[in-house]
Symmetry: C2
Subunit: 314 residues, 2 copies
């Protein structure tokens, strides 16, 4: 019998499924990405499982465990809830994966949590056991790792940092609350910051293609535009406020900032750091705030890490 | 040889040392309290250890592990730091305890963390694995338990919730920061809330003996005094803000409120709950907010629980 010394990490997105064959040391041996339709029918799920199986090639007998990053809350009973951006029958997919990887554990994990584990294992947080990963995109996602394990929370709401309050009675968020971090530090938040400053400074806004189009604002800020600069400063201000409050609650070893907007980390990172130090007690002031380093591989690597630790504990 | 099936839990205070002999199930079998001087000299420490030993009586051979709650940050190397309110040579005391309890593990733990563990084990949080304990006294202390273990943090600053920000550019705190929870929800904070409302409402303040004299304000609020009622409402407002932010970060199963001010929980608790629900995402809205139930026994029980879990993991 082949030695079981490989992992498969899978990252399920809205239109694409990425899968990687990964060593126990976190080295990516091979990877694949396939476009998918709605993942509900047994036929479609079987097809997805087959395309994932392909990544293992001749080494399928060596696969010990399979990790699965999914965009939604994963309940303790492996049910998928709060997943507005995807149509996926998670249990059905797990059944199909169990068929193509017989004898393997199949371990689902929320995708922001997977990215946090990936950065902890092989990315910007490597070497740390306690990490807070924040993803800045259309929304603000977060994965919290304490003692090497994801903080899922009593109701699956661990890491819902995007909905912590940073402005008393502030902007209305889609979640129903007001003044959520997400309304100031996501790409949608940045656009709102920018439009407010344009209005108050009498500056004509640059063209934005949609309500979460951050790139032109970052470019304008780099060019010295006053409203864009102030909008980025707001983002940094409120993100730093949230980070310092998290530091004085669970005191992580490192903060890692990922997501689409982390490409502009060089622009806002130094301001985040400056405010963070200003607003933290001395014990926490030296905590690093780093940009994510794994890019699109974080999800698959983190899913594999989840499989590794869950498999070992089995 | 006697079966090792008992624990000793010790709670070190500024002027009093409490010790209890406790069963593995958390039942207090006997307890003692002794007044102490400055705990620095070998002579004094030996005396303290002897008086602690007395609690075990004839059962000393049955003691498996000894837990020690201390008012300060306990480093991973069992050094005591950030302990402004006590003069204690912790390592010296641990040496003396090792002499009188030969073969036992001696496990120190911060006192707020010990109280959190005590409430988790035998108090208001019994049955939960994830708990946030908040002590409202002259300051605001906090112990966070995730998966049955204290969140110490990368720099020992886990649970420094009293210094999270609740008011942008708010009141100056002794820690150097502004707008800390402690400046609004501790007894000192309550006095400040009250004096502000007295001034703005033109109400003559009741007599307060010191800057942290909360009791007369609670009494005035019970009597319908407008400034005192508003001061208590402020306390509830800012405490709820902090709790909801903690919920959307680590999503505990229960919040437990202890400390000297928790005697007025019936007065402010309902307002905390009301705001907490208003400011939390649905997943966290049903999290219980309960008054502590162990009173002065929480520290010794929690120290024993720390000893139990550390001893088992040894």
């Amino acid at each position: 019998m082949a030695e079981k010394n490989l992992l498969v990490g899978i990252d399920i997105g809205g239109t694409t499924v990425k899968a990687a064959l990964i060593s126990m040391e976190g080295e990516i041996i091979s990877q694949t990405a396939v476009r998918t339709g709605i993942m509900q029918s047994e036929e479609e799920l079987a097809k997805v499982a087959q395309s994932i199986l392909a990544v293992a090639g001749d080494d399928v007998d060596r696969v010990a465990d399979v990790g699965l990053a999914v965009p939604g809350v994963v309940s303790p009973e492996d049910k998928l809830t709060n997943a507005p951006n995807i149509s996926l029958d998670l249990e059905g997919l797990m059944d199909e994966l169990a068929k193509v990887f017989p004898g393997c554990g199949i371990w689902p994990v929320n995708d922001a949590n997977a990215a946090a584990l990936g950065e902890l294992w092989k990315g910007a947080g490597a070497g740390s056991k306690n990490l807070v990963f924040i993803t800045l995109g259309t929304g603000v996602g977060c994965g919290i790792v304490i003692d090497g394990k994801i903080v899922v929370g009593a109701h699956g709401a661990g890491g819902e940092l995007g909905h912590t309050n940073v402005v008393e009675d502030g902007r209305q968020c889609n979640c129903g609350l007001k003044g959520c971090l997400e309304m100031y530090a996501s790409s949608r938040g940045l656009v709102l910051n920018y439009k407010e400053h344009c209005a108050s400074l009498g500056i004509e806004p640059v063209k934005l293609d949609h309500e979460a189009h951050a790139l032109p604002i970052f470019e304008a800020a780099r060019g010295g535009d006053a409203a864009a600069t102030a909008a980025v400063a707001d983002l940094a201000h409120y993100l730093a406020r949230a980070l310092s409050n998290v530091a004085m609650t669970i005191d992580p070893g490192v903060f890692v900032i990922g997501g689409g907007m982390s490409g502009a980390f060089d622009l806002f990172g130094p301001f985040v750091r400056e405010h963070y130090v200003e607003w933290s007690i001395p014990a926490c002031q030296n905590t690093q705030i780093l940009p994510a380093s794994l890019g699109n591989d974080a999800g698959a690597l983190g899913a594999a890490y989840q499989a590794l630790t869950k498999g070992r504990a089995r």
